[in-house]
């Protein structure tokens, strides 16, 4: 059975299901309750996270397992790593992915490396949920798409769902994964509605999805840009161009087989990423194509990404910053 839920509600449901099933799961972050547990209010959350994603958790699971933290991201993620290594399964929230600036060490040098440095003798079952991406008029320090950075780090996994149903299944799989996972939530998708199956299910990490079949060109997207790619594919169809759309879903591990398969099928590929262009997912996809996919290539691989600039505030500029279906269509035209 499935029904329509928002992305935020789907994540909330996944958290409820996971916490219900496993008492070792805790949720911690800034305002994840938001004044919850205040004596004169009873155990009730005021916010449940700035997007309301963690709403109701403190009521269901109590203040021991649902913790409003100080504004101390290094301590939040560092403590989550320490807790994960010693028997808990924390779901920590990094309110905006931009704040990785003040909390990279627990990810880069601790979570990602403990298992390796310890010769395989520890597991770090940590999930870090984080809100990311442009489009909300939130300007340069609250709009970045930094999953390329986390994907570059061996020992971490990075996931970025594009729709509510995937978000639920991927989050359940992330929480139950015995490795540290960065779970990226595009902030402008949070109130998007979509089909969400009932009950408990997991979508395996490292598997892309074919969102739309096609034969002439492959459009590879992630998160929000999957929708932009679908938009472009629909417009291209009207021109008689059949575009296949792939949703990467996991960025690390990345589903190389799926990328090579679609390239083999169409011979032409455009990768669409709302991150800035340098050292990111788009380059990795293109590099894969020109290495293992070389024999399939009938045309250059094009990258439609944000420009090499910070995210601007002005709506006019931010709209120009984001990859658009028009830019995808232009790129496709160059390849045909």
């Amino acid at each position: 059975m499935s029904r329509k839920l928002s992305f935020a509600a789907a994540i909330n449901e996944a958290l409820h299901i996971a916490m219900e099933a496993d008492p070792d799961i805790i949720v911690m972050g800034e305002d994840v309750a938001g004044g919850g547990g205040r004596a004169d209010q009873g155990i009730e959350d005021a916010w449940g996270g700035i997007m309301g994603v963690t709403k109701g958790l403190i009521k269901a699971f109590g203040p021991e397992r649902v913790r409003d933290t100080p504004i101390s991201e290094t301590a939040i993620l560092g403590a989550a790593v320490g807790a994960a290594a010693t028997g808990l399964r924390p779901v920590a929230e990094l309110m905006f992915m931009d704040f990785i600036g003040v909390s990279l060490d627990p990810l880069l040098n601790q979570a990602a490396k403990l298992r390796y440095m310890f010769g395989g003798k520890v597991r770090v079952p940590l999930t870090v949920r984080t809100s990311m991406g442009a489009g909300a008029r939130a300007a340069a320090q609250h709009s970045q798409t930094l999953y390329g950075m986390t994907s570059s780090i061996p020992g971490l996994k990075t996931v970025c769902p594009s729709n509510p149903g995937d978000a639920k299944g991927l989050l359940l799989a992330s929480i139950r994964d015995d490795n540290p996972v960065i779970f990226c939530e595009q902030k402008t998708l949070m109130f998007m509605q979509g089909e969400v199956p009932e009950g408990d299910y997991e979508i395996p990490l490292g598997k892309a999805a074919t969102v739309r079949e096609g034969t002439d060109v492959s459009l590879v997207g992630v998160g929000r840009t999957v929708h932009t790619a679908v938009e472009a594919a629909i417009a291209l169809e009207a021109e008689g161009v059949s575009a296949e759309v792939i949703d990467l879903r996991s960025l690390s591990p990345m589903d190389e087989d799926a990328i090579l398969a679609t390239l083999e099928k169409t011979g032409r590929l455009v990768v669409v990423d709302e991150a800035t262009p340098r050292c990111g997912i788009a380059s990795d996809v293109a590099a894969l194509c020109v290495d293992r996919g070389f024999d399939f290539l009938n045309a250059p691989v094009k990258r439609v990404t944000a420009p090499h600039s910070p995210v601007p505030f002005s709506p006019v500029l931010e709209d120009a910053f984001l990859p658009s279906s028009a830019r995808i269509i232009d790129a496709v035209r160059e390849l045909l």
Partner: protein
Amino acid sequence: MSLSREDLIDSYRQMRTIRRFEERLVDLVTAGKLAGFLHLYAGQEAVAVGVCQHLDDRDIVNSNHRGHGHCIAKGVDVKGMMAELFGKSTGTCKGKGGSMHIADLDRGMLGANGIVGAGIPLTTGAALSAQIKRTGGVAIAFFGDGATNEGAFHEALNMAAIWDLPAVFVCENNLYGEATPMEFVTPITDLADRATSYNMPSAIADGMNFFDVYEKSGEAIDRARRGEGPTLIECKTYRYMGHYVGDPLTYRRKEESEEWRQNRDCLEGFETEALEMGLVESDDLRQIDAEVEILLEEAVEAAEAAPYPNPEDVLTDVYYVSE
């Protein structure tokens, strides 16, 4: 530290401008004219103005996400600010920064900052410039109670202390960090106590009282200018509005905010005390009120009329390119 009539007039104008600027923003958001994350400063005006009254263009101020008040108090042009919030090319930052990044180094304003705590080390750096270049200037950081739990706060104060830098760290303790009450996340009541860790002088000021802030910060700024090192000042204050425009304010009781507004409002307190001093009359203040309305009206009109940036400008200003 005696205040002249001019000082009083100017201080009132600043505080009033901030208050009305913020109230206008609420109207504009309600009318659907403004987007973005807006964190309003209303209620805390005495802090920004009480401190900045001691400053001039040599002095550097760094602020946080709740930066409108600090910008106005430090002399940033209100019309430019308004245009910035509209994302227009005439904005202080050409529309690229928005509310959380307004800056104007000509006025010594080193920027609002969207990363909690991040402005504090920048301030230490500005103080280092002042010390080494012997500008005579001081550097001021404004930040909230919540920011004192960030590592950056701690590192920056320690560095400023060890190098006797001309810096003043102004903590605006408004009892909340977003929706979370301070007592949930901070095991002490007086954040000024954290100065102990750095052997730094500290003071607690009534952040709703312009005169108290003025006096305590004046001492600290003088000390810094004399080369005697930094100070931490905690100002006990309160934000009247939500954390951001749109905040449902479910985490605090209405009576709590009503009590602050009714009994401790900084504008009202200022007026009473200023009139008692006999240097200004009620009419002076009413005239300022009227002038502020005109200024803001003009600011909104100009901002609405101004052009947006060109889409191509997305790629300018990323790097400095020598001509």
